[in-house]
């Protein structure tokens, strides 16, 4: 057994998987005050087992905690409700030692029974959790999923402060899964008291508790004075106002009524905002774990022809598309975004070369090109991006008609495998957790290629799938050998060209002048748009 301690120096000395240096509190931070954040869409639920939306993801992060957590503003794991943990040598058993004296918002102390209850709850089919599948490596998951068990066999309460989790297969990403919102620890009595509506009556251990919720109008989060992490949060309240158009939110920010527009700067206003030095100074730019791509359905002729897919890869002018969205992205060469571990910096990808693409198309037997369809979600800027792609394809003779549909309809066509080409903008793919495997299984692996899956190119290479399984069987997710394997996997995927990786979006968060805290908190890769627990106000 390797014992993993919270002391970084000791871990380094023992050569164990290193947890990051924890966050250093901001010496200038002031306690008190409140901020106002706006969103266009209503908050559907704050139940951590259910919530999977843009707006409720970071809210849930502030109301609840999981066994694992991330250092604010980074993608590095740190212990959360677990003070420390041990991994068995075969990587199949995780023992978590819980932090003592952690209290739920209802005043009760959290124990190992709550951990077991929470993991059972999220995997129980009746809960209808969209995240249930993340827990598939826990022993007994299949029995939960098919309804033959009501408790996870692999999760054992050793004593009130210790939980042991046994896996049915090695899973390098398991600690990341334990940091997901879906793994949040919830108190049984509060879930049962809320009946069917825990989503509107959340009780967690997080830095904030829900004080007020007027459906369709606003939510008020209140500081948890008993929070187990000393010194945070700084803010007394966070008010979320919903139903606010992004353009209206921007006007209100300029008027001093809003601190963070949660949906960002509207594309139509981006140039104007950035041209004004006073406003541009309050915009924080950062990378995000996102890739925008075109899927090429390998089961639909002539896209089943590798040369045709390569030609399309060489026909798309990524620089121009990046300009269309005001340079709010960097052109992509591969499925992984640059800030993801396993990204291959020296892989150049397919060059933009329409002449050669046209020649390749002719050699493949399509001197006059062919007709096809490009599906796209119908909200700005996606149709404009699709038009640019349409022109690029036309330049090599491919006549693509644009099918601009509502998000749900595009996803349906992608899952059914009826769409020859799909531009992923507005739908996919942002990582659930910072690990290279998260860009493979659902969107490039064989499992995702099944009917209804998110692998819209229906690409399935058993040899690559086997490599992926091997890479995920490592004990240490950051093992260089594992990251090298993932790097190879994505380069091999690109040899088959099931995608045209187009760009990696940058994030731009705007804030009011009175908001303080390190810039990294405003482009936190995990808490989007802002890490509410660590930001503060200066007046």
């Amino acid at each position: 057994m390797k014992k993993l301690l919270a002391s970084t120096a000791l871990m380094m000395a023992l050569g164990l998987p290193a947890l990051a240096q924890d966050y250093t509190p901001d010496p200038n931070a002031k306690s008190g005050g409140g901020i106002t954040v706006t969103y266009k869409d209503d908050v559907a639920t704050l139940d951590p087992a259910i919530g999977y939306d843009w707006q409720n993801w970071s809210m849930i992060k502030s109301l609840f905690d999981s066994l694992m957590d991330y250092v604010p503003g980074t993608t590095e794991l740190r212990p959360g409700l677990a003070e420390s943990y041990e991994v068995s040598d075969d990587g199949m058993t995780f023992t978590f030692h819980l932090r003592a004296g952690v209290k739920f918002h209802n005043g009760r102390e959290m124990t190992a029974d709550d951990v077991k209850y929470s993991l059972d709850r999220v995997t129980l089919p009746a809960t209808q959790s969209p995240g249930a599948g993340f827990f598939a490596s826990i022993k007994g998951f299949d029995a939960m999923s098919d309804g033959s068990a009501t408790t996870l066999e692999g999760v054992t309460v050793v004593d009130p402060m210790t939980v042991q989790i046994q896996l049915s297969r090695p899973d390098a990403t398991f600690l990341h899964v334990m940091a997901l919102n879906f793994s949040s620890i919830v108190p049984k009595e509060a879930v049962e008291a809320a009946g069917d509506d825990f989503g509107h009556n959340p009780v967690g251990t997080g830095a904030f508790s829900l004080a007020e919720w007027t459906i369709g109008q606003k939510l008020v989060f209140q500081k948890n004075a008993d929070y187990w992490r000393a010194g945070v949060p700084y803010l007394d309240t966070v008010t979320f106002e919903v139903g606010q158009e992004p353009i209206v939110a921007l006007l209100r920010l300029q008027n001093g009524e809003v601190d963070v527009p949660g949906d960002g700067i509207p594309p139509a206003k981006f140039t104007e905002v950035m041209a004004d030095p006073a406003q541009a100074a309050r915009v924080v730019e950062g990378g995000q774990l996102q890739t925008g791509y075109i899927t090429l359905n390998v089961t639909i002729p002539p896209l089943d022809n590798l040369a045709v897919r390569e030609a399309i890869n060489m026909a798309i002018n990524k620089d121009r598309i990046t300009q269309i969205i005001n340079g709010r992205a960097v052109p992509a060469t591969q499925p992984l975004p640059p800030s993801m571990p396993g990204y291959t910096a020296d892989y150049a990808g397919y060059p933009y070369d329409p002449e050669k693409a046209k020649q390749m198309l002719a050699d493949a037997g399509f001197p006059d090109g062919f007709d096809t369809e490009l599906y796209v979600m119908n909200t700005d800027p996606n149709p404009r991006i699709a038009q640019a792609m349409q022109q690029d394809l036309a330049a090599i003779g491919i006549r693509a008609s644009i099918q601009s549909l509502a998000q749900a309809n595009v996803i349906e066509a992608g899952g059914a495998g009826t769409a020859p080409m799909i531009w992923s903008g507005g739908m996919a793919w942002i990582a659930d957790f910072p690990d290279p495997s998260n860009f493979y299984g659902p969107i490039l692996g064989c499992s995702g290629a099944a009917e209804g899956g998110w692998n819209w190119s229906k690409f399935c290479d058993p040899a690559i799938d086997a490599e992926a399984t091997k890479a995920d069987s490592f004990n240490n997710p950051d093992d260089p050998a594992r990251l090298a394997m993932w790097s190879d996997i994505y380069q091999n995927v690109m040899k088959e060209a099931p995608w045209v990786p187009v760009f990696n979006e940058q994030r731009y968060t705007m804030k009011s002048a009175r908001m303080g805290g390190d810039d990294s908190l405003y482009v936190d890769p995990v808490s989007i748009p802002v890490n509410y627990d660590y930001v503060y106000v200066t007046e």
Binding site: A44, P125, P130, G133, D196, Q254, N255, M427
Partner: protein
């Protein structure tokens, strides 16, 4: 009268049944799977199937529709797929703001529309008439989204007279209500103008003038009550069109009404909410028409209900 009322109520119930069937059927055949929206992008096929079974969406259409109707009869509008809350609770939370905005919006469009129509009729063929009719034409055809944003920009952002969107005080109500008023006034202005012009030509007006009544008395005591008559029935019919405008205006002004609720539910294929909002709106329209028919005989004794 009671027999008439009973017949009309029965007809209304049939209409609502038809609306529920058509909406449910359209949502059923829609090429968008609600389960995928709930399950999200990382769900395994097993998770997807589990959710489908839990919600009864694996059943044939007849069973699903039958269950829905059975619930409806018992006063249960179902639970939202994504919010996991009773639809009746969600609609109840959002109905008061919408009703308030509707009342204020209809008042605005009536005042604006009737005034414009009356003035235009009295100045028929002159410049005032032309300008007013042109204005009403622009109001009818202007995109709601654009008008909302223009008013918001001028009166809230530039002049700062009203808050930039939101809900709570009468200050918040003014801009969205006036926007709806301007957009809807065009119809009423045109209706009122033609109705007034017709009445002004009628014999009884000539008689009134011949009696030596003042111009004011002729217009307000004799012409106006008669000219307004056809407009009353129009309010009932207008509710349908009005509901369409409210969806857009609520969106821009951040007004927490059922328009916003419907819009978001449609994006996410949250069928119980879409059904609920559709039925509530259909009820409003049906009731509006019924009320218009019932009120007319009280205003015009020539019309009798049988």
């Amino acid at each position: 009268m009671p027999a008439y009322l009973a017949r009309r109520l029965f007809q209304s119930a049939l209409i609502l049944l038809g609306v529920s069937f058509i909406t449910f059927f359209l949502l059923f055949v829609l090429p968008a799977d609600p389960v995928r929206q709930i399950a999200g992008r990382s769900a395994t096929p097993q998770t997807v199937e589990n959710i489908r079974r839990e919600l009864g969406l694996d059943q044939p259409f007849v069973v699903q529709y039958g269950r829905y109707l059975w619930g409806l009869v018992q006063g249960d509008m179902g639970r939202s797929y994504l919010q996991k809350t009773d639809v009746s609770t969600l609609i109840a939370a959002r109905l008061p703001p919408t009703l308030l905005l509707m009342a204020a919006g209809i008042a605005c469009e009536l005042v604006l529309g009737l005034a414009m129509g009356m003035v235009a009729a009295l100045r028929r063929g002159r410049a005032t008439d032309n300008v007013l009719m042109m204005t009403s034409f622009v109001a009818v055809s202007a995109p709601q989204f654009v008008v909302s944003l223009i008013l918001l920009y001028i009166f809230a952002v530039r002049l700062g007279w009203f808050p930039i969107g939101g809900y709570g005080t009468w200050h918040h109500l003014v801009l969205p209500a006036v926007t709806l008023g301007i957009l809807g006034s065009g119809w009423y202005a045109r209706m009122m103008r033609s109705s007034m012009v017709e009445v002004l030509r009628a014999d009884f007006i000539r008689t009134a003038r011949a009696k030596g009544l003042t111009r004011r008395a002729v217009i307000f005591r004799h012409a106006l009550p008669n000219a307004i008559l056809p407009i009353i029935a129009m309010i009932g019919i207008d509710i349908g069109i009005f509901m369409g405008g409210i969806v857009v205006v609520e969106g821009v002004f951040g007004w927490p009404g059922i328009g916003q609720l419907a819009w978001q539910a449609i994006q996410r294929v949250d069928i119980p909410i879409i059904m609920g909002v559709t039925l509530v709106s259909a009820c409003a329209i049906v009731l509006g028409n019924l009320l218009a028919d019932l009120i007319t005989p009280f205003i015009d004794p020539r019309i009798r209900i049988r």
